[in-house]
């Protein structure tokens, strides 16, 4: 018999989607959070509305690790369809909680694990009149059972129900009755387990928030001044636009008693991108959000915006691709597509948030960068970051003035006239590759120009002249070089004398943090560089140069970021060993440790 750990537990709940388990899982997760225990949740759901298997993992981690854990301690076996496999997903010595309303079939019995039954069907039948509600409420039974087994106080559950359904007392009551039934049943039976105890940590999560990356990005966009938003529904990005729909009316001040924003559900992603381009051209802060298939459709517009130099922000919440791929699973496989989006020579700025605060902050700053560089800017998320709930420090607003870039109003143009200067839309006045722009509505006679995706000269005139064309392309390249000085720098953690490096970006950050601790415990110290943007900044080649070997963690098959780095720094690229996770599930530290140690062994052999 093992001694129970304190606050270290990984629960996996297996249910059918559409069965209401989202609500019960949420209550369970928030209860653990409310106890002050560091915890995270990962939702692994199918691309379907009802009836397919779904798994929800809740990890409590005394040490504060928030990534998905690959060892499952407790399996809530509430889906018959996957039960035969689920019993083997739980570790030896783990626990299976199942509905024993009917006897457990022989093929679902396994050695080396503890089974605890709770007659959920029977209990709920007593409490809830026959209705579609009954199936949903059944899931509340396991919440109560787990609460009893691991020591979640019913008062905590009540508080969570109050937070969640505060204005619906009837809902609170019916949920509470079912949760309590599960709790009391196991209490009366005297069920026990020796895996873990959950213990309140006073002030443990004090001041912490729970949110998801899509919501944090939507809030960042609002604080960044997004005023024209056009989008087309696609998982896992829809909830970003939906969060905008939810928060804009609450947060954005009215003007003239009316709305100071426009949000449009477009007819397709081409139109969504087209509206962004039209609005950006006309001077608004415009954005869209989408995922891989939508990004593919937006490509022509993105090229136009790049070449005609129109600002716009594109939030890309990556999922398993290509094509429909695994629409509800996570990946970072659209990096190359974003970086070189569209035909012809293009290069784009990409921001790479890795946690809730950077989602908020980089979303906000993306609008400044788009205006400063008059170009599309991508904010790249993935499903894990975008849709899973993360506990986090509260979102912080960096109070900075908006950077509207080199946008000239009529008065400024008049000063130019007085100074004998001419407004030349596509001319590199300052040597940084960034031209000046005017926007429609500017009444100054020098302001208007004709925007086109066709060849144009420095004065925005139609031109197929080879020198004119090359001038613009070269200037665009210079502009991109300038961007290296403006984009967020990587975050580096290093110790003197350590010669092994790890680079990662986005949602890999949390598992990498945990993996590095585990590697350290096994004698391998590593330094770390968290990439936060493309184009690459000078810190990246410096970091490569300082290390003998650098493990680059990314969530795609083809090592897309490694290819970009190797392409830019061929002399240093040989130091990179790619660590790739691309099965669609959130990365685990265990997988990273395994891959890194294997790579070391094979290098040593």
């Amino acid at each position: 018999m093992e001694t129970p750990s304190i606050n270290d537990l990984n629960i996996c709940v297996a249910t059918e989607n559409g069965s209401g388990s989202a609500s019960s899982n949420n209550i369970l997760f928030k209860a653990i959070f409310k106890m002050g225990i560091p915890c995270s949740s990962k939702n692994m759901f199918p691309s379907n509305i009802q009836g397919l298997p779904t798994w929800y993992q809740i990890r409590a981690s005394a040490e504060g690790y928030l990534s998905r854990k690959d060892v499952i301690d407790v399996m809530v076996m509430f889906n018959d369809a996957t039960a035969a496999k689920d019993i083997y997903r739980v570790r030896d010595g783990g626990l299976i909680l199942f509905d024993d309303s009917a006897p457990l079939p022989a093929h679902l019995k396994r050695e080396g694990v503890q089974y605890i039954g709770v007659p959920a069907n029977k209990l709920v039948a007593k409490l809830v009149p026959a209705s579609p509600l009954r199936a949903k409420q059944r899931n509340m039974i396991y919440v109560g059972a787990l609460a009893y087994l691991f020591g979640i106080d019913m008062d905590v559950i009540k508080a969570v129900l109050q937070d969640t359904f505060g204005n619906k007392p009837a809902v609170i009551e019916s949920n509470l009755a079912c949760i309590d039934a599960g709790y009391q049943y196991l209490k009366e039976k005297g069920a026990t387990q020796n895996i873990a105890r959950l213990q309140v940590i006073p002030n443990g999560n004090k001041g912490k928030i729970i949110t998801d990356g899509n919501t944090a990005c939507a809030l960042g966009a609002i604080f960044g001044g997004a005023s024209v938003i056009s989008w087309y529904p696609i998982t896992p990005s829809s909830s970003l636009a939906e969060a905008l729909e939810h928060y804009l009316p609450r947060l954005r001040k009215k003007r003239d008693g009316k709305r100071a924003y426009a949000i449009v559900q477009a007819e397709d992603e081409i139109a969504a991108a087209g509206m962004v381009v039209g609005a950006g051209w006309a001077g608004a802060r415009a954005m869209t959000s989408t995922s891989g298939p939508g990004l593919s459709l937006m490509n022509e517009m993105i090229g136009l915006a790049y070449y005609a130099e129109i600002p716009g922000v594109f939030f890309i919440v990556q999922r398993g691709g290509p094509s429909t791929g695994l629409p509800t699973r996570t990946q970072q496989a659209d990096i190359s597509l974003m970086y070189g989006a569209s035909h012809g020579d293009t290069r784009h700025i990409i921001l790479l948030p890795h946690d809730m605060n950077s989602c908020f902050d980089l979303a906000r700053r993306s609008f400044d960068l788009a205006d400063r560089f008059q170009t599309p800017v991508f904010v790249a998320l993935d499903l894990d970051l975008g849709m899973n709930l993360w506990s986090s420090e509260p979102l912080k607003l960096q109070k900075e003035p908006f950077d509207w870039g080199k946008r000239l109003n009529a008065q400024q143009l008049e000063e130019w006239v007085k100074a004998g200067k001419k407004f030349r839309r596509y001319f590199d006045q300052d040597g940084d590759g960034i031209p000046y722009r005017t926007v429609p509505g500017n009444p100054h006679p020098m302001a208007p120009y004709f925007t086109r995706g066709s060849g144009h000269d420095a004065d925005a005139r139609y031109s197929e002249d080879e020198h004119d064309y090359k001038y613009i392309l070269d200037r665009l390249r210079r502009k991109f070089e300038t961007a290296r000085k403006y984009v967020p720098k990587p975050i580096i953690e290093k110790e003197k004398g350590v010669r092994t490096g790890v680079i990662c970006y986005g949602s890999s950050y949390e598992p990498v943090r945990e993996a590095r601790d585990r590697l350290k415990a096994r004698g391998l110290k590593t330094n770390h560089l968290l990439l936060r943007a493309l184009p690459l900044t000078s810190e990246v080649p410096e970091f490569l140069a300082e290390h003998d070997v650098v493990y680059l963690v990314e969530q795609n098959r083809d090592a897309q970021m490694a290819a970009i780095i190797k392409d830019e720094y061929p002399g240093l690229g040989a130091k990179i060993i790619s660590v790739l996770v691309y099965n669609g599930l959130p990365v685990t530290a265990g997988e990273l440790v395994r891959q890194i140690l294997e790579a070391r062994e094979s290098a040593a052999a």
């Binding site: 809030l219 056009s230 928060y247 426009a262 139109a271 087209g274 608004a284 925007t451």
Partner: protein, 342 residues
């Protein structure tokens, strides 16, 4: 040059010109540009308040050839509707005019075009309809009539999309058809479209003299001229003119636009009420069956509000709002954070 005609805002016709055209000599598109300039001049519209938008094609190049003092945007093939929608939301105080071709609108851009009309985005949208793709050298477009012959002899055996009918069905609120060569009719129709708030669609037959002007084409100059069927003569009366139009009670029709201007439709052959949707669709059908081009103001709906109004956009254009207007306060973020602690 004291005898140069000036309009109410003291501009001359020259002030509405653009860069020299690069269309083929005799192309219908140039004639439409001339009507566009005339309409803006006559309506005394400040070019600085106009935005010109287009897709890709010969037709879509033409915004460069009029209103050189306005901002212009020649976007990508078929997507002007979406780009114009975005621009309109960013600054609904500006007056958008969109120029497109039948390939641009009826083929690649059909979806976006439909949804722009469904939303009733405020725009004057002119389709310069020649039945072919001019810029890619003469392929059939989706408005080519069944049985019409391509320059090389190929016969089109797929029915045409009738853009006027489509526009009426999908929610456009001002739908007209005209002919590039009929400036007398076209210019006031454009003036009316500019005064209208909502999607004004003008399907203008505009012969491509280079690729679709032969025997067997139903969009050649000769064929079109022989098959025009104007419903009415059109007079546009701007809001500042108090004149009483002399129209015949009971047969002529007067359309009042949002800004107080009026369009007077003088009956030619039949009584026609453009606000009657059913009659409009029937009339378009009947003309097509007879192989005729019904021209004039075919449909007008005074009751629908435009998209920016529907979205309840503030009077100040979104593009002109500053950080004080756009950024919520740190206290508001604190409240959001507090709600995330629950």
């Amino acid at each position: 040059m004291t005898d140069v005609k000036r309009n109410r805002i003291n501009l001359t016709e020259k002030d509405y010109e653009g860069a020299p055209s690069t269309m083929c000599r005799g192309c219908g598109h140039d004639a439409i540009s001339a009507s566009v300039m005339r309409a803006f001049f006559e309506s005394s519209i400040d070019p600085r308040k106009v935005i010109k938008l287009s897709g890709i094609g010969c037709s879509s190049k033409t915004p460069a050839y009029f209103l050189g003092q306005s901002f212009g945007f020649n976007a990508v093939h078929g997507r002007m509707s979406a780009v114009a929608t975005g621009a309109n939301l960013a600054n609904h105080k500006l007056l958008p005019i969109g120029i497109s071709g039948d390939g641009d609108t009826a083929a690649i851009g059909l979806g976006n075009f439909c949804h722009m009309m469904r939303r009733n985005v405020n725009i004057t949208y002119i389709v310069e309809n020649n039945g072919v793709y001019g810029l890619t050298k003469g392929q059939f477009s989706a408005t080519a009539d069944i049985g019409s012959v391509m320059k090389g002899g190929k016969v089109n055996d797929i029915p045409a999309i009738d853009l006027a009918e489509l526009a009426i069905t999908l929610g456009a609120t001002y739908v007209a058809r005209s002919f590039s060569g009929d400036r007398k009719q076209l210019a006031p129709l454009i003036q009316g479209a500019l005064a209208h708030r909502g999607s004004a669609i003008l399907d203008v037959i505009s012969p491509c003299v280079t690729f679709n002007n032969h025997e067997g084409s139903t969009k050649s100059l000769k064929y079109v001229k022989g098959h025009l069927d104007p419903i009415h003569d059109v007079d546009f009366i701007p809001p500042y003119e108090n004149i009483e139009a002399d129209y015949e009670e009971g047969t002529d029709h007067e359309v009042r636009l949002h800004d107080g201007s009026r369009i007077v439709l003088h009956k030619l052959s039949k009584d026609y009420d453009p606000t009657d949707k059913g009659q409009a669709i029937t009339a378009v059908h009947a003309a097509v069956a007879e192989g005729k081009f019904l021209t004039g103001l075919i449909y007008y709906n005074p009751n629908r509000i435009d998209f920016a109004t529907e979205l309840d956009l503030c009077d100040t254009p979104l593009a002109e709002l500053g950080q004080e207007d756009l950024q919520p306060t740190a206290e508001q973020l604190d409240e959001i954070n507090a709600s995330f602690m629950k």
